[in-house]
Amino acid sequence: MVKKFVQVTDKVGKWSGEIIAPLALLYMAILMFEIIARYFFNAPTKWAHEMSTFIFGAQFMLGGAYCFWRGSMVNVEIFRERMSLRAGAILDAVIFLIPLGIIILMIWLGGEFFLKSLSKLEHTNTEFGPPLYPLRGIIPLAAFLLLTQVVAKFVRDLHTAITGEPLR
């Protein structure tokens, strides 16, 4: 049961990243289109910059879970190296309550902003003026994706703390 849960969250971490990573090629292509349209056809677009920025904003936000899954959220390991596996797991289980709190706030408040924005169909105040609520909705969604990874780490640490062995 515990093992199954961790396997599922691992898949979430991996695939969320694999799916959104190629979006980098999309915003690159949009910007290239804008540059070509502007310099070669003298026809700049109204939408390219805002559109590519939206995709980028959504991508790196959602990418937090993948980054965490890859173990790339930077941490300092000066003291960690001198600790036993078990002590390290207990410490992590305690301090990772902090990201848990952050994530709950992001889901709660981010969700509130999203619903408010959706209810009045908020648009940006630029000339292009695309709807803003999808981007607002990304914040709670990204936080939820990250939540799966943080909870999985918590479960792993708890397992190590109780049995003294890492969960395989």
Partner: protein, 438 residues
């Protein structure tokens, strides 16, 4: 809460959490939100959504993933192999020539890529085994790669400068221009040092035996290795400096041309695209989650009047502004040893910049000094990112101790460069003033 107490409490608790091993983004963000809650209640924590959306809509930060994508493709493009072959033929006969050439290639790579990892990893894979095979001393070989690779953040384009530019509200184009001569200065210092060391200790960097030397006339066709890199540098930096394109647009052109270069050398495969884009996402998400979390922290700290307090407090000490500048840099170098660059920029720039302006220093020049400080941080343990990159790829027989020993002279050379730029600010400010004065 008084600003004095807030300064101590915010930075103190963040420091403790980081030391306990909590990832930087969570430590900075967690402290920022917790204090916001205790100061202003639940309403105060709304910054979690407000600040984040602002960063998600920043067009200038979009340049980051594009420059990183560019670097990830360039690494696989084979450009480095061709450049190394050219340099091997040209400089192999000189004592220390291969290490000099390594610094040279790193400089070219730095002018194409905006991160230090690209050149460090590539040259670690190509130049390090080659130099060790020719009997080069381990320390000289490794040192030249680490120090050369670190030039990536000083010579434009630079991911670090983009983040500094956003935080300090300095034009990224001007910062890029400001990094050109300081970067070349450091590269020159490294090269002079290598030549002198190898001249007096030939066993550190022996010249190639005559039978292994390539005749110069055979070298001519190899010069075409320079064409593509020069074209990229010209397109990316040229379009920014002439004002034709924004840094973000130029980054898109750079990424696109890097993909073309892998296609031209027949290395463009789906697996490479997947690898390059997931690596880009990993690094981009890592940097931007720190940026977002730090924006919550700064919002809280600014709201309690922290930056003004620090500025007034230091001004009230009555010490010379130069002492203050040196003190700030000392602190930055220490922070560079233990923290990741993005985090340092995000938390120190809002605090120090008002002070720098109050003392009449140029924020652009300070930005260049800042980047050199960060470069030193890349090379110094325990958190020297470039050392980590190399750790993963060093051949057998090279220990982490060798790596640590090898960087000492190069860190000292960076310090010399830093002092020169402090005494002669024109090295940093001349080019941006010249280019953007129109």
């Amino acid at each position: 809460m008084s600003p004095e107490l807030a300064t101590l409490a915010l930075f103190g608790s963040m420091f403790v959490l980081v030391m306990l091993g909590l990832p930087l983004a969570f430590a900075i963000g967690g402290v920022g939100l917790t204090f916001a809650y205790f100061l202003w209640g639940f309403d105060g924590t709304k910054i979690v959504a407000i600040q984040s959306l602002g960063i998600m809509r920043s067009t200038i930060l979009l340049a980051l993933p594009l420059f990183i994508l560019m670097a990830n493709f360039l690494r696989e493009s084979g450009i480095a192999d061709d450049l190394y072959e050219l340099m091997y033929g040209l400089l192999g006969r000189v004592r220390g020539g291969l290490a000099v050439g390594t610094v040279g290639i790193c400089t070219i790579f730095a002018a194409m890529a905006g991160i230090s990892g690209a050149a460090t990893v590539t040259m670690g894979l190509i130049a390090l085994p080659s130099m060790l095979k020719r009997g080069y001393g381990k320390t000289l070989a490794i040192g030249s790669i680490c120090a050369g690779g670190a030039l990536g953040i000083l010579i434009p384009p630079s991911v670090v400068m983009i983040i500094y530019g956003v935080m300090a509200k300095v034009s990224v184009g001007r910062l890029f221009a400001g990094g050109v001569f300081p970067g070349l200065l450091l590269a020159t210092l490294f090269i002079i040092y290598i030549l002198i060391r190898a001249h007096f200790n030939p066993e550190l960097g022996p010249s190639l035996p005559p039978e292994e030397r390539v005749p110069l006339r055979k070298m001519l066709p190899k010069f075409k290795a320079l064409i593509f890199p020069m074209a990229i540098v010209f397109a990316v930096l040229g379009s920014i400096f002439t004002g034709i394109a924004t840094p973000t647009e130029a980054a898109a052109v750079g990424a696109f041309s890097a993909i073309i270069s892998t296609a031209l050398s027949r290395k463009l495969k789906w697996s490479l695209v997947r690898e390059a884009s997931t690596e880009t996402l990993r690094l981009t998400a890592m940097i931007l989650w720190i940026v977002i979390a730090a924006s919550w922290f700064s919002a809280t700290y600014s709201a309690v009047g922290g930056p003004q307090f620090v500025s007034q407090f230091i001004q009230s000490l009555g010490v010379s502004r130069w002492i203050v500048l040196i003190g700030i840099q000392f602190l930055l170098i220490i922070l560079g040893m233990v923290m990741e660059t993005t985090g340092i920029i995000m938390i120190t720039v809002p605090v120090f910049l008002p002070l720098i302006k109050a003392f009449g220093f140029d924020p652009l020049w300070f930005g260049i000094l800042f980047v050199v400080n960060m470069e030193m941080g890349l090379l110094t343990p325990p958190f020297g990112v470039n050392l980590f990159y190399l750790k993963g790829i060093v051949p057998k027989g090279v220990s982490m101790g060798d790596v640590y020993r090898s960087i000492i002279p190069f860190v000292l050379l960076q310090l010399v460069g830093l002092i020169i730029i402090m005494i002669f600010p024109q090295i940093a400010t001349f080019l941006p003033d010249f280019i953007f004065s129109r």
